[in-house]
């Protein structure tokens, strides 16, 4: 019994290798890591630039964070982007003549207010240095570390849900086309073993991928600290997606039809999740979206926050068991049809 399982495992491994499965994973790993390290880790939003036109030099010396321009025209041009703010200083002193704060509205009233308030504070700032560090800092991450954790979580989720799922299904369709399922119907290998060997292989390759991705992008000490939680979530996600892929491969006649389902999954199921978690767009129905909870758990694992409760893990376990049973049933159906 064990011998046949190992043989199955070996066969699946060879199938993965010949399908370029691992090569693809390696390629994505490099692509994602480059993106995170070279682009996303540095992502920042700068404060609106403030420009000053001060013909009479009434505003005093340079103010930190303010760019001086030479003419009113220049000032107007600099402020035309709807983000920058201009200070036009008239008269003898700041308090004498009527100074003007000018800007093009950005369309969001409250942001316009804070732009005005910030420009005002620069106008009346007594010491002309950029006084920072007055707010109490209570978090543990720097901006860069937060960016790294955030994007690594997103990339891993995307990889497992979209790319990994595609890999699983393409492998299964290939087997189906080759008639492997038909052959298995007459072999003394149980259906459970057939599914288990694939799950084992996919799970271990996904876990390896998750581990390398995490360590490469979070760095050594932080990556290792987050790893146990990440691997747990990656395991859950990998099992769920592999089983869904299995079901799809059993129920759909060909790969082309599958790519339709795939399109729907990739676009309509993951996009709202990203919108909600990444951009903070609020949607009431979001908590009924199962992917939302999976993604939140993954993200929390990266930030080393424990939030998912017993209900979440219970639901995951139930989903995996149900999907497993369904996959077994689908395989039986397929074998009967083929045989």
């Amino acid at each position: 019994m064990r011998g046949s399982f190992v043989a199955l495992l070996k066969k699946d491994f060879r199938l993965c290798v010949s399908g370029g499965f691992f090569l693809l994973a390696l390629g994505s790993l490099i692509l994602y890591s480059c993106y995170i390290n070279l682009v996303y880790a540095k992502l920042d939003q700068e404060l609106f630039p403030v420009y000053r036109y001060d013909p009479g030099k009434a505003g005093g010396e340079r103010i930190a964070g303010v760019t001086d321009v030479g003419s009113l025209n220049e000032l107007e041009e600099a402020c035309a982007d709807g983000y920058s703010v201009g200070l036009h200083i008239n008269g003898d002193s700041v308090f004498g003549g009527k100074t003007e704060i000018m800007m093009v509205s950005c369309g969001i009233e409250r942001l316009d207010h804070i732009r005005e308030a910030y420009a005002r504070s620069l106008l009346f700032q007594e010491d002309k240095t950029d006084a920072l560090g007055q707010a109490e800092i209570i978090g543990v991450n720097t901006r860069e570390m937060k960016n790294r954790r955030e994007m690594t979580a997103e990339v891993l989720f995307f990889e497992l849900v979209a790319v990994g799922f595609l890999g699983v299904a393409s492998m299964l369709f290939k087997e189906k086309q080759m008639g492997v399922i038909r052959v298995h119907a007459i072999l003394p290998v149980s259906r459970i073993q057939f599914i288990l060997s694939k799950l084992t292989l996919l799970l271990s390759s996904d876990l390896l991928f998750a581990a390398v991705l995490t360590v490469v992008n979070l760095g050594m000490p932080e990556g290792l600290k987050a790893l146990p939680g990440v691997l747990l979530q990656a395991g859950i996600l990998s099992l769920v997606m592999a089983l869904v892929g299995f079901l799809c491969a059993e129920l759909l006649p060909d790969f082309k039809q599958f790519s339709l389902i795939y399109l729907v999954i990739a676009v309509f199921i993951t996009t709202p999740v990203f919108l909600s978690v990444q951009a903070g767009v609020e949607m009431e129905w979001m908590r009924f979206h199962p992917m939302y909870h999976l993604f939140t758990a993954m993200k929390n694992a990266y930030f080393q926050v424990l939030s998912a409760g017993g209900l979440y893990y219970g639901a995951c376990a139930a989903a995996i068991i149900l999907l497993f049973l369904a996959a077994g049933w689908g395989l039986g159906r397929e074998m009967k049809k083929e045989g």
């Binding site: 369309g107 207010h113 007055q134 901006r143």
Partner: protein, 336 residues
């Protein structure tokens, strides 16, 4: 142009539900964006403040309300949780005698860090408005940048569908062995390529124009520039589909290529648009991606401009160069 061939291509297309759906997808997405009027995109761009219930004076609360979104929490712990939450940039505001003091998590963008640090001072100076004049010019175009960004992303995706369609279509023909049948048919490779580009191109234009009709409010002066952009980028996308079809062996590999190209097409323009100033070298370099030109052009149109000469020129250049490369590659291949 061989019109009968094109007719047969269209006939084959009618049976291909996947291809039809590919073209309809952006249209559905466009409708969805229009329907999701309740999605509050502006909240993502303005500062958000968290306060503890009853922790601030009414005046402070009112002032915060005019400067950002205010979220009220029941306890200090809940507030700190919200401030630490990585996906938001919430600034915690607490009372400090007469004034206020702020807490932040330390991982926010520079902009929100500065706002948090200065907020007590900004509040103190709230009444100093008589000492200067404020001149606010109305916004130039669309007032919701996040929404227009989303619409442009969908439009760019719609343009891209010609690529997806062409690649899938040719690859499935390859798998069905139609490629070999084509070799014995009285049709040259050039004719085949022309037909395929035409189909992907027409489909891409069709789906982008309908998406535009659903999502964009276009003035009469913008119709021509918009059409120009759509036509040029749909052509480039259809061409990209041919490239994918040439390099991928089968449908499965093709889909992976499509995904990679799609990411490369959609991600850089968005990033460059959000992060890089229009005058910098990086912005210029981003024109190396044909999608960037289409994206910037569309964004400009959304903001009410009509001048897309530079973007159209870049797109036309891309179309010309890649077409030449494709033809050259075909010549080399047939030469062997």
């Amino acid at each position: 142009m061989n019109w009968t061939g094109l007719k047969y291509q269209l006939k084959a297309l009618r049976r291909d539900k996947l291809c039809i759906l590919t073209f309809l997808l952006p249209i559905f997405a466009g409708i969805a964006v229009n329907l999701m009027g309740d999605m509050d995109f502006s909240s993502a761009a303005e500062p958000s403040f968290g306060i503890v219930r009853g922790g601030l004076t009414e005046e402070m609360e009112d002032w915060l309300q005019t400067n950002g979104a205010v979220q009220i929490y029941d306890s200090r712990e809940e507030l700190e949780e919200a401030v630490k939450e990585p996906s938001t940039q919430t600034i915690g505001v607490l009372s400090d005698g007469e004034g206020m003091r702020t807490v932040r998590s330390g991982d926010e963008f520079h902009m929100y860090a500065v706002i948090a640090d200065r907020l007590p001072a900004l509040y103190e100076q709230r009444d100093w408005t008589s000492q200067y004049d404020l001149k606010v010019l109305p916004a130039g175009g669309g007032n919701d940048i996040m929404k227009s960004l989303l619409i442009v992303i969908i439009m760019a995706a719609a343009m891209f569908m010609g690529c997806t369609f062409n690649a899938m279509n040719i690859l499935s023909e390859k798998e069905d062995g139609i490629e070999y049948i084509n070799e014995i048919l009285p049709m040259t490779r050039g004719q085949y390529v022309k037909q395929k580009i035409a189909i992907g191109f027409v489909g891409g234009v069709f789906s982008t124009v309908i998406t535009a009709l659903i999502c964009m409010r276009v003035t009469a002066a913008q119709v021509l520039p918009l059409l120009l952009l759509v036509v040029l980028s749909a052509f480039t996308a259809a061409l990209a589909g041919l490239f994918i079809a040439r390099f991928a062996g089968g449908l499965m590999v093709g889909i992976v290529y499509i995904k990679i190209i799609m990411i490369l097409f959609l991600a850089p323009p968005i990033l460059f648009y959000m992060l890089v100033l229009p005058d910098s070298i990086w912005y210029g370099l981003s024109y190396l991606f044909p999608s960037s030109a289409a994206f910037y052009g569309l964004m400009g149109l959304m903001e009410g401009q009509t001048d897309v000469v530079r973007e159209a020129a870049v797109l036309a250049g891309h179309g010309g160069v890649w077409l030449a490369v494709y033809i050259l590659m075909g010549k080399i291949k047939s030469g062997n």
